[in-house]
């Protein structure tokens, strides 16, 4: 166990600091940003299961996020039950949807698959927007805030620990994937599907399982988000922008690494929030400059650091290690 902790220094630092923040800081905006970092991070980690570990890059994960958000919201507003029940329902529905997408992943590769996932999320968006009788259509659903754990009506500090709990859980799922046989098989499928098949890996089934699992994990966070922000509307929760966000965080942080999604989320959410805060006060009409900068920053990061922050850190550490060894070797001669 200690070995695990030592090996995963970065994660210990990251989650440890996150856990200590609410003790030290009381500033609600800071805490709110932290909740978002952890929540987006968890969503990205969920995406990573399909996109990073199984190599199925989807740009339609908002479909599952939206299913989770709506399930929770509807369970509360329409059926008068608590959101946890809605979360369970959301997971069930997302697993089903994930199976459908997984099926698609067996027929399509690369950009074709990505495009099909976009189409899927947009079909859901339109369907939910039109189903006025049940989902309140495009008007969306305001989610009532009722204090208490059962109703997920939590204060800022409690939300931090809630989001942190989920984040650590998802992180451990990723670690499990990296070290388990299942995970290794998945890695094989990701790197070279035909070769994996050749040595007897049930690649088709694995991919479907990975995508479905990813969908379920995403849905849970969608339900949490609905209770956190308090308003669910289809144009946002099923949007391509959200799908891209989950994937982008992971890519910036390091696809296929366990901590990557959280690092990426931290960087992107912080930069975005910071830039937006700084620029909102500008003369009317110039606010958009922050998004120009944001886009430029993203282009540079994606282009020059494609292996992500985790990859950079890894490389840096490896370089230090090899230099240290070289020095050691030279010294011993």
């Amino acid at each position: 166990m200690l070995g695990l902790l030592a090996h995963r220094r970065g994660a210990v630092i990251f989650f440890g600091v996150a856990a200590l923040v609410p003790v030290v800081v009381r500033d609600a905006f800071f805490l709110d940003s932290l909740v978002l970092i952890l929540l987006w991070g968890s969503l990205s980690a969920a995406w990573n299961v399909a996109g990073g570990y199984a190599g199925q890059v989807s740009i339609g994960h908002a479909a599952f996020f939206g299913i989770g958000a709506y399930s929770a919201a509807l369970m509360v507003t329409r059926f008068g039950r608590n959101p946890w029940l809605g979360m369970l329902l959301g997971v069930a529905l997302s697993l089903l949807a994930g199976l459908v997408i997984g099926f698609l992943s067996n027929r399509l590769r690369g950009p074709y698959f990505a495009l099909s996932t976009i189409a899927f999320s947009q079909v859901l968006l339109i369907a939910v927007s039109r189903w006025r009788g049940f989902t309140a259509g495009a008007e969306g659903i305001p989610v009532p805030f009722r204090p208490g754990f059962a109703t997920l009506g939590l204060g800022h500090v409690a939300w931090v620990y809630m989001a942190l709990g989920v984040a650590v859980l998802y992180y451990l799922v990723a670690v499990y994937l990296e070290r388990s046989r299942l995970g290794l098989q998945l890695a094989g499928v990701r790197e070279d599907e035909d070769a994996a098949e050749a040595i007897g890996v049930a690649s088709r089934r694995l991919k479907v399982v990975a995508v479905a699992a990813s969908a379920g994990l995403t849905s849970v966070c969608g339900s949490l988000w609905a209770q956190y922000v308090g308003f669910v509307d289809p144009a946002y929760v099923f949007s391509v922008d959200l799908s891209v966000r989950f994937a982008l965080n992971t890519i910036i942080g390091g696809t296929g690494t366990a901590l990557g999604p959280y690092l990426g989320s931290m960087l992107i959410t912080t930069v975005e929030t910071y830039l937006r805060a700084q620029f909102s006060g500008l003369k009317t009409g110039f606010t958009g400059i922050y998004l120009i900068l944001y886009g430029a920053v993203l282009i540079i990061v994606v282009r020059f650091f494609p292996e992500g922050l985790a990859g950079v850190a890894h490389r840096w550490r490896a370089t230090r290690l090899s230099r240290a060894r070289a020095v050691g070797a030279a010294g011993s001669v």
Binding site: A138, F145, L293
Partner: protein, 424 residues
């Protein structure tokens, strides 16, 4: 490696540039009172968010010329609410970092829900000036108020106009009227359309011949809709458009020679926006849109104090934008003015004292700009019958006020609409 180091440097430079351009937010001086302004300044709603911000700024200057609020100069902390998550997050920032006790905004129904939730959790006053979601004040939020009527009010006014003003002039009875409902499918369009449908059917027995929703951002050809409606021969088309869709529908109805007796819309977007007139010029003639008052408005019909404020407001808008007040200006401006009246009365931003002041305000129609009065219900909603709305009509490239007739010198024309090329 060199390229990567270069890239890293470029990154740092870009971010540094960001810091430089933006500067740091100004500290609140002791003679100032700061409130938070939350509007969509980027994204698809930016065009209207910007106008609301302008309206706020104009009235803020008017307020400061008259001594400010609670003896202090009114200043703003502005935040961009580009989507619901950002709205909640920025509301949090305004409250914790900028220390505001009152937040106003946000124009769009999808944003006001999230923003008011965030404000409620900090027990901060949320002062909505424009979003029309009917559920806004039904969530039991004690400190959320809305100065503008909601979508049900819009629908109510539209049907009122149709039933009381248009139908008699068609020599018909309301229950003989065939009405087609067409609308963009955002929360705004749905809200107004559904309430109009309800009143049309329940109170007047009008015959609904069609109900069509569509997505205004992706629609690029309304001919199929036009052809479909043409076959159903409605007397009135109740169309809530948002942007280009209004232009498309009107133009393509003309192309297909689709004739109906009148088209009625509600709100400052679509048919009610300046773009519609710019796009079509005189071809826009005849369309009705429920709005704040425009040219022809009889300021004399207002009470004396209302006249003074309306005049000052129009002058200020003219000075800043070079034109007449647009819907966005009017909603934001009046919202801010009412806030000033409340703060003057309460003398404090303590939520309970504030609430008392809000509830105690009772001004008749014609008291402030736009000819509005003020009377809040206990769920924090300004009453339908105090928030006087007006029907405007496109005449010769301008939206002019035509109803209620006691408030305007101008009259509605082309009732019913003649052939397309005869609307001069």
């Amino acid at each position: 490696m060199r390229i990567r180091r270069f890239a890293f440097t470029a990154l740092v430079l870009l971010l540094g540039l960001g810091v430089l351009i933006a500067g740091s937010s100004a500290q609140t001086l002791s003679g100032e009172y700061k409130i938070g302004i939350l509007e969509p300044l980027t994204g698809p709603l930016a065009f209207e968010g910007k106008r609301h911000l302008e309206g706020y700024e104009i009235v803020r200057d008017m307020i400061n010329e008259r001594g400010g609020v609670m003896g202090k100069k009114l200043v703003f902390a502005v935040a961009d609410a580009t989507d619901p998550t950002a709205a909640a997050s920025e509301a949090n920032r305004l409250i914790t970092r900028e220390g505001v006790k009152i937040i106003t905004g946000t124009f769009s129904s999808r944003l006001c829900g999230a923003a008011s939730e965030a404000a409620a959790r900090h027990n901060v006053i949320y002062w909505e000036s424009s979003c029309v979601d009917p559920r806004f004040n039904k969530r039991g939020l004690r400190n959320a108020y809305r100065t503008e009527i909601d979508a049900t009010g819009f629908g109510w006014y539209n049907i009122e106009f149709i039933a009381k003003h248009l139908v008699p002039r068609f020599n018909m009875k309301p229950n003989q009227l065939k009405i087609a409902f067409l609308s963009e499918d955002s929360s705004y369009g749905q809200g107004v359309t559904e309430s109009a449908r309800l009143r049309a059917k329940q109170e007047f027995g009008m015959q609904e011949v069609a109900l069509e929703y569509y997505n205004w951002t992706t629609i690029n050809d309304m001919t199929p809709v036009v052809l479909k409606l043409k076959q159903l021969q409605p007397d009135i088309v109740h169309h809530i458009g948002f942007g280009n869709d209004a232009v498309l529908f009107w133009r393509q109805s003309r192309e297909q020679n689709f004739l109906f007796k009148a088209l009625v819309h509600a709100g400052a977007t679509g048919y009610g926006g300046a773009d519609f007139g710019k796009a079509l010029g005189n071809d826009a003639n005849g369309v009705f849109a429920l709005l704040e008052p425009g040219p022809g408005f009889r300021i004399e019909a207002l009470r004396p104090e209302g006249q003074a404020i309306e005049k000052a407001f129009r002058e200020a808008v003219q000075k800043k934008t070079g034109g007449i007040p647009l819907g966005g200006h009017q909603l934001a401006g009046s919202g801010l003015w009412i806030l000033k009246l409340v703060l003057d009365k309460a003398g404090s931003d303590d939520p309970e004292k504030f609430r008392q002041a809000v509830m105690s305000l009772d001004l008749p129609v014609g008291s402030i700009m736009n000819g509005w009065g003020i009377k809040f219900s206990d769920i924090g909603q300004n009453a339908n019958d105090r928030v006087q709305h007006y029907m405007l009509q496109w005449q010769d490239g301008q939206l002019v006020t035509v109803w209620p007739e006691e408030f305007t010198t101008l009259r509605a024309k082309w009732i019913p609409l003649p052939a397309w090329d005869q609307r001069k």
